[in-house]
Symmetry: D2
Subunit: 109 residues, 4 copies
């Protein structure tokens, strides 16, 4: 792992965290909030996984690969659900999740 | 998974979190802090893993098994390092980490 | 501050965290989720405030009083909203929030 | 508060979080770790305050002003300690803390 690869993954985690927090909050403001329940749940879990992983990357933790693997799994699930919804915040979140999953898998490899 | 198994694991995570936070802080107050560096690092990672896992358990997340696995790994590493030191806070932390690793593995299975 | 007062506050924070995580998750499963939006939002903020405060208390941080003040504010708002709903998880959360607000104010004083 | 002011503060929180995590980890690797104990403690608290605040900003929480105030206090204390040390990571952290404190105070005003 180079410091450049680490920084790419860290940036992807922080962008995904922001997208998930924003998406959860925006989903709660949608008139069809009853349709967004799974999205809100997965946004929350993914935001927590991104926070956990980003902080381990920032401190150069020896556990970063394990964190990246669980983060990629959280991102995959969140991207699959967000991608099913037409709201712009959901589509943006799905893209951020896919980018983060890719970066986490690359770093954990 | 029963709700009782979940609560056992959650309690183990919270006890381990408290032990790790206390151990890191107490290690920083030891005269031989230079010997405690690895312990402090692993305490921090383990505390973050326990927090992440505990909150997913509290909310009944579908990702709890993945979180439990990374938490067990963090606990194993922290227990191994803490167990090498005679300070009471290190020994107590090692015990809490081992109990949490066991509970996380049982729940993730 | 005695270590007993600190432990009382820490326990209140952890109970409130668990109540808030559970309430947010249960609100998302209610048929009337559209009525629970404010509750879910405040549960999330309060859970984060409790986590932040609990960890500072665990490590004996010099910033614990400041954390307790913001936690008490988060608890007050969450208790006021949860208290308006008849769901058992909301009523239990309101009680945990009030107890945590009291403990945080006592410790910060 | 405009969304531009919010983004400025959020970016400052994330930069400060990264600086604090890096500084804590780098301090633990210094030969004079015994001199860096206060710095490590404050880095940890400040990183937690920045994480808490950043996530509330991301979700547009009504509690963001209260979070910004405690974050500014954490940043002030961390900047004062880091500023006393000549290590490059301490000086960079002090700068990030001061910028974050300013942004948090501006947003909370």
């Amino acid at each position: 792992m180079t410091s450049s690869e680490l920084q790419v993954c860290l940036d992807a985690c922080l962008r995904c965290l922001q997208a998930c927090e924003h998406c959860a909050s925006a989903c709660l403001s949608e008139p069809d909030v009853g349709m967004m329940v799974a999205c809100i749940r997965l946004d929350r879990d993914c935001a927590d996984a991104c926070t956990f992983t980003a902080r381990l990357l920032m401190r150069g933790s020896e556990l970063h690969a394990e964190a990246c693997r669980v983060c990629a799994e959280a991102c995959d699930r969140c991207a699959a659900e967000c991608g099913r919804h037409g709201h712009e915040h959901c589509q943006a979140c799905a893209r951020a999740c896919r980018a983060c999953a890719d970066a986490c898998r690359a770093l954990a490899a």
